[in-house]
């Protein structure tokens, strides 16, 4: 499993009445883990859909590795990019969770690690359950499991933690960190800056169809001014790090916990 780089050059796209992308250019290196943030309606989802050929730009150029996306169909793009929709219900259709998770890898003519992925996301006990009988938040994990089993070189995830509780969110974080360690490229649209802190090394900010900022995650998450300008609040880890003036601007929870080891705690809340 190795990653592909992504290149988007001066891309424009409009829905009937709204210009969703107004000339966006960006490049993501193979193996990078990047978060795409911005307000509702900023164009984040539109941008990700261009990458997998679900929509075609009105102008501009999109490339995934040496593939020009304009020349590819969505099913071809699935060989390189695993895409998880914002609403998992849109991509589940098989009769059982296991069949659903196996569908993508089978279509690629491979035998992906279906059972291992079900274990990894704590879905093994649901393997024989119909996807629509699985609690709604877990359907998102089922959709993610399907693309993990395809072992693509790139993951594009639209709000992968929305609706998930803490333990489910930790499963997603751990799964993505493992893929990043293998050199897979990750692009995740997210409002969840806690998730961004745990997974991303770089943050792209969309605003009204344009790329408004492109910064290292550590620097961006500690920049309370920049966050406030975007109506964003720092994640708990960066907030703690900033107030306690922890060294090295930690953003991952294990980094913050380690930096706080010397702290003396009151026994009880006042």
């Amino acid at each position: 499993m190795s990653g592909w780089d992504l290149r988007i050059e001066d891309v424009r796209y409009a829905y009937a009445e709204v210009e969703a992308l107004r000339g966006v250019s960006l490049a993501i290196r193979s193996g990078e883990s990047v978060a795409l943030v911005g307000k509702n309606g900023a164009g984040k989802t539109t941008l990700t859909r261009l990458l997998v050929a679900l929509i075609r730009p009105a102008a501009g150029h999109v490339a995934v590795g040496d593939w020009d996306v304009a020349l590819r169909r969505p099913d071809e793009m699935a060989r390189r990019i695993g895409y998880v929709f914002q609403h998992a219900d849109q991509q589940l259709f098989a009769r059982s969770v296991r069949e659903d998770v196996a569908f993508g890898t089978r279509r690629l003519g491979r035998h992906g690690p279906v059972d291992a992925v079900l274990e990894e996301l704590s879905l093994a006990s649901y393997a024989d359950v119909h996807p629509y009988d699985v609690p709604a938040p877990l359907r998102k994990l089922v959709a993610l499991a399907g693309v993990l089993a395809m072992e693509p070189g790139v993951f594009v995830l639209d709000e992968p933690t929305a609706g998930l509780d803490r333990s489910q969110r930790e499963l997603v974080v751990a799964a993505l960190r493992r893929r990043s360690a293998l050199g897979v490229t990750v692009l995740a649209v997210s409002h969840d800056l806690g998730f961004v802190a745990e997974t991303a090394e770089r943050v792209l900010v969309m605003e009204s169809g344009r790329l408004a900022a492109d910064r290292p995650a550590r620097e961006f998450l500690y920049d309370a001014g920049a966050l406030a300008a975007l109506s964003l609040r720092p994640p708990a880890t960066a907030e703690i790090g900033r107030v306690l003036k922890l060294p090295d601007a930690p953003i991952r929870s294990e980094e913050v916990a380690a930096a706080m080891r010397g702290v003396r705690w009151k026994q009880n809340p006042e």
Binding site: L164, D165, I240, L244, R264, W265
Partner: protein
């Protein structure tokens, strides 16, 4: 005062399910309460909202045992997936929000007033002329909340109402709830976003496999949050703090007598202070 909702020993089973989604649930909700429901996926929180608002079993089928009294004159529910709740009949957001009160046969002037009030409450006046079919998920979620508020419910059930919202919009939505409750609305929220809900909830119910295992003040009964888990990893003794201000308040003064208390923390989103990180 008649409770807005009274459940006594309620057990509910979805159609075709082999085990009950709610088991022996008893609770009363009164006017002005904001109760949050916490629990793992599948614990029954969404089902509790369907039962509380009378949609289950009437609309979704299934069987209900035990006693349920819905004292609220009107119940509203907001689902986690907003597009499932659009009428599909309205070409503008304004009409979409007006649809509910209009379908109750209210006079036109009242319908318009209710719709524009709800649109203002949700901060979506800029979307009023847009086609709901062309909105983003977060925009749509606020439209749906406005459409339900325009109905004037006495009991409002919110199923992960901020799932699609950006953080500022999510904060704004939760910040609206205490004022609705102050006007007498009873609010029941199911969400995995425990920290945000706990800021406004007056009460928390914890569900496990369909049973209420805890019911009390949020700080007393909620499970360990992300911040709590971090505090535990950093050596904080229980009870673990729910959020950052609570964590900072638990830190004892260091040898120099300096306390890292929450007064060090400016309000969320306040001015830049990026130079303070010791390196």
């Amino acid at each position: 005062m008649t409770p807005r909702l009274a459940l006594a020993g309620v057990t509910f089973t979805h159609p075709g399910a082999d085990r009950a989604a709610l088991r022996g649930v008893s609770l009363e909700l009164t006017a002005g309460e904001i109760a949050m429901v916490a629990g793992a996926a599948g614990a029954g929180a969404s089902t509790l909202l369907l039962v509380a608002t009378g949609l289950a079993p009437r609309l979704v089928g299934g069987t209900l045992a035990g006693s349920r009294t819905i004292g609220a004159r009107r119940c509203g529910i907001v689902f986690a997936r907003p597009w499932t709740q659009l009428t599909g009949l309205c070409s503008t957001v304004e009409d979409e929000v007006a649809f509910g009160p209009a379908s109750l046969g209210r006079p036109l002037a009242e319908v318009r007033a209710a719709a524009s009030h709800a649109i203002r409450q949700l901060g979506i006046a800029h979307l009023a002329g847009r086609d709901p079919a062309h909105l983003s998920g977060g925009e749509l979620q606020r439209v749906v909340v406005a459409a339900i508020l325009a109905l004037g419910p006495e009991l409002l059930a919110l199923d992960d109402p901020a799932a699609e919202l950006d953080p500022a919009a999510a904060d704004a939505l939760y910040a609206l709830l205490p004022s609705l409750a102050a006007d007498g609305m009873t609010i029941l929220i199911a969400t995995p976003d425990v920290e945000r809900a706990a800021r406004v909830a007056t009460r928390a119910l914890v569900l496990e496999q369909g049973t209420v295992v805890a019911d009390g003040r949020p700080a007393d009964v909620l499970p360990v949050t992300e911040v709590g888990s971090l505090a535990r990893a950093a050596g904080c003794p229980p009870p673990y703090p729910l959020d950052v201000p609570a964590l900072l308040a638990r830190i004892a003064p260091d040898a120099g007598g300096r306390a890292h208390d929450s007064s060090d923390a400016p309000p969320a989103g306040s001015g830049p202070d990026t130079g303070a990180i010791a390196r």
